[in-house]
Symmetry: C2
Subunit: 220 residues, 2 copies
Amino acid sequence: MERHLDVELRHLQERLLTMASLVEGSIGRAIHALVSREAPLAQQVVHSDEPINMAEIDIDELCLKMTALYHPEATDLRFIMMAFKINNDLERIGDLAVNIAERTLELLKEPLLKPLIDIPRMATVAQGMVKDSLDAFVKRDAELARAVCRRDDEVDRLNDQVFRELLTCMLQDPRSIERAVELILIGRHLERIADHATNIAEDVVYLVQGRTIKHHVAGE
Amino acid sequence: MERHLDVELRHLQERLLTMASLVEGSIGRAIHALVSREAPLAQQVVHSDEPINMAEIDIDELCLKMTALYHPEATDLRFIMMAFKINNDLERIGDLAVNIAERTLELLKEPLLKPLIDIPRMATVAQGMVKDSLDAFVKRDAELARAVCRRDDEVDRLNDQVFRELLTCMLQDPRSIERAVELILIGRHLERIADHATNIAEDVVYLVQGRTIKHHVAGE
């Protein structure tokens, strides 16, 4: 017979997946708004922060209630504590998508600086990392989680490239400075989204293998 | 008679305070290195990340073990879960201090752009917020925690000021661009430190009053 706790754990997982899809949607829309210069879409991302914040509070409460009610042990406890952490990372990813949308709204007041290539590429990688880290969580797939961690370097590399190109842009034409700074900050936001996805993936490895790969203490 | 759990809870609190003081020290040294242009001090901050990372892992483990072993309820459980969260915020504050130190090392390769006034001021406020949020945690002082949350606006305001001044600087003299961008990013790092302190303070209010003020859902 299925335990009550199992039903609740599945429920918790579903809630987290719903939250993750809200957050992924926000990243996608924020970057789409930036690339296709659609202010209403950016506005939509800013407003979508509220349901994400409410979802975070609900999931936190659920984790606390489950721990108090079922006294879960070993794997179940680890699962709940990791869900509690992942929830926090997802909410911050949502905040970062809002930050991107806000900067996009600023950028849209000015003409296009230059066609965007690396930023959308970074966004695609970062979004994929968020998606895969949650997939790894659902499937308890430590290998997939480790692959997510490795992709963080790609995002960092792209971000360095974006940073250097925009610096050159500013040096060549001071009129580009304001827009270039906004784009540099968008690059930073994407880099942080990838960092949060990496945190989630590290938590999944811990959940599955019971040992931490955080800060590369256990090596790879 | 004192419960075993009480001894462990006090132990957990002490570990968290030690971690907090490591992190506060890193912020202080990173800003001192920036202002007084001392590269070896900045290097020291970069290297101090390792003990902070180790402390985070230890505290996480402790939280999990305590929950599994004592089946804590109500206030005790909330305390442990909040410690688990605060631990994560502290580690990220430590990372941000390292980021500031790394940018400082870049800046020290070039002559001083301009005397720094608002950035050290932001740093002082942010550092005070970290300290007070932990004090509020130890004393279960919701009022102090709420005061921390209110100071977040001051940091945001200072950061906007720093941002605008540095933009003007870049527009007036393109040779200042690289250094100005570094300083803008340092401002962002400090703003994020203040955000993490605000998260901790919000968690303290939740711990003490059992209701969330996150995302201003419950209002003030």
